[in-house]
Symmetry: C2
């Protein structure tokens, strides 16, 4: 079989599309349909599919979990109301690169697998790159199993059991991972680039606890309103990030009871913070936490901060990135502020990333877009890299 | 029959109680159970129950909708995670006051009705005092029918049809309304008081529209983050209220997509504002709207403000309030910042309110409480007022 990019892309484009972007949560209906699509695509190419017991899927060309396999792929899941390219483009490109290698009569010396990592966005269970963290032992299976979604369903329940955890023999079985992904900024001005590094980043949950009361009758001086502390912290995080050249965002909030006429008893806000240097990130988060506590004291509010996830700075193997950039005719090598499964695995096995141009730079939004010609160029580049590696 | 306060109170106390306070939304299960309880209590007292076609219930002692009826009662519905006294205390006290009048052998010259108004909090459909607004013609039936809850169910669907609207002959049929309610501040330091006025108050919805994008990769200078504008407006509302001696609260927020790693495309916040004087309230809201717009310009965000409800200043009929205060031995006469159905009806018929002491002043919160002795004193006071009026 030999499908074109537009054929494959138009088949998955409607899956999980809602009025405003995509909702593709791990193990919920649209993502399950995409998993079926993955199995069907593998079957059409005579690629056996294995599951690592963590929720990640692998479609094999060559020995399943033989030595030194070259993996390529990405993830299906989206942020709520996200774009369609972030993740699936890497999986579709993986299958199409396999087609291209076969068309050329390439006989790989090492197994090749197209991989679909689970819960990369953390959109359902809160911890991003959950599948690659489990595969590489960066999170304990029991801890992952206990993670809950917004309805209280655990990851273990969604998966159907406790995850298997770290792959035995990980470093000898996986020889390399090359993840293709849409760029998520406006740095890349040619169709394809290569990743140099991922900024260190993390998520911190701020629980602001005040005192629920009547919004109409409670005197301003008697209030202990946690919404005020939250609002101050939102602005403080923005200001501190600007001052330090980092990125900080408070984009998610939960309020109890969230009623127009009731001062909240609890406001919960999440800080997403990233910086080029770990020390910058540390100082940024410390400054935001300090300012939240200072304001909390004035508001009569308690604040508790929990680190929900942290991803250390990733520097992709320099020799591999440079070799790929040369192979592709000297394409740009650029860092990114976005986390990826390739980043999680980079501390264990050689990993590289190809970026496909994003003309607006918009991502995690329905407006995310890549031109078809650039996607096709991405597949050609990925095929060239796979030929070189296998 | 002759029940005690504690008997009746303990029967309804578990209904709609959750781990953290009460959730009693109009026409949802707990409130439907309370409506059944209302019909059963009426039946035990040989009081016929009528429905005005708007969702309000009336239990009659004497002619249904005869001339010059004296109404007493309140509402069953709660704010999310609210207290148990706010509303139901007035209905329970109404039935027990009827018992007391009968025990004394009182023969009323005018019909008496215990009333349960629907959707007083606006907790489900957004417009507070919806039942009394419909009964008095302050909102159009079609407009009320189209109001939606958070799941998109309309008030018309919940009610089972378009509301009947204004009661024909309202001003001749209703001679007076006396609503008993727990106080919602800490002003009252004796068991029972009488209301003088309700502050003018309203709800305004602020839609802050920005540009959804990736929280990790989008440069701080490229962002159009509506959470910043919301946060600034929360703090501005608090500050403006303090400066003007008014009350302002932003306690409810909805975020799209509300994901940790996605700059929101939309943040919707609600302003609850109240003041002793209408001019103060107008100036307060104008100042908050102006500051929101100023900040929105800096954030690259659009802001649209919608007035969702407005309740003009209410001054309860002074002669009635003074007569009742005298009758009860010179109890305090005090204003409140909280809206009530009695306030909505006060522009059409003579209305009065009895307040029962709230030792902590806390309301719209699970911590809301009234002492049993004060509740019993409230029933005795209400009985004395009903004897006087009928």
């Amino acid at each position: 079989m030999s499908a074109t990019f537009s054929e494959l892309w138009s088949a998955i484009a409607p899956i999980g599309r809602v009025a405003n972007g995509y909702i593709r949560y791990s193990f919920e209906e649209p993502e399950l349909v995409l998993r079926d699509w993955f199995r069907n695509q593998a079957a059409r190419r005579d690629m056996a599919v294995t599951d690592d017991g963590n929720g990640n899927l692998f479609a094999w060309w060559g020995d399943q979990w033989g030595q030194d396999a070259v993996l390529t792929g990405s993830h299906f899941d989206s942020v709520p109301h996200g774009g369609g390219y972030d993740g699936p483009l890497g999986i579709v490109s993986g299958f199409l690169a396999v087609d291209e290698l076969r068309r050329r009569g390439h006989v790989p010396r090492r197994p090749i697998a197209v991989v679909a990592f689970v819960e990369e966005e953390g959109g359902r269970f809160g911890v991003p790159c959950l599948g690659s963290r489990l595969l590489s032992g960066a999170i304990e299976p029991e801890q992952a199993a206990a993670l809950k979604d917004r309805e209280g369903i655990t990851y273990g329940e969604a998966l159907g059991g406790t995850p298997a955890g770290r792959l035995p023999g990980l470093t000898s079985r996986i020889g390399a991972l090359v993840e293709l992904h849409i760029e998520q900024g406006r740095v890349l001005d040619v169709p394809v680039g290569v990743a140099s590094a991922i900024w260190p980043h993390g998520r911190w949950r701020f629980d602001f606890t005040g005192h629920g009361d009547h919004a109409g009758t409670t005197r301003m001086d008697d209030r202990r309103d946690p919404m005020l502390t939250f609002a101050y912290t939102v602005l403080a995080a923005n200001k501190e990030a600007r001052l330090s050249g980092a990125h900080a965002t408070m984009a998610r909030v939960e309020v109890e009871p969230n009623a127009t006429n009731a001062i909240p008893s609890l406001v919960r806000g999440w800080l997403d913070a990233r910086a080029a240097e770990t020390s910058t990130l540390d100082n940024l988060v410390e400054a935001v936490v300090k300012r939240a506590h200072d304001r909390a004291g004035r508001d009569g509010v308690e604040v508790a901060v929990t680190s929900e996830s942290f991803s250390a700075e990733v520097t992709f193997e320099k020799s591999l990135a440079e070799r790929i950039a040369d192979l592709l005719g000297g394409v740009p090598v650029l860092p990114t502020g976005a986390g990826h499964d390739a980043g999680v695995l980079s501390t264990h096995v050689p990993t590289a990333m190809l970026f496909v141009r994003n003309p607006t730079g918009v991502s995690h939004s329905p407006a995310e877009h890549a031109d078809e010609a650039d996607c096709v160029a991405g597949i050609a580049a990925l095929a060239r890299v796979l030929v070189d590696l296998t």
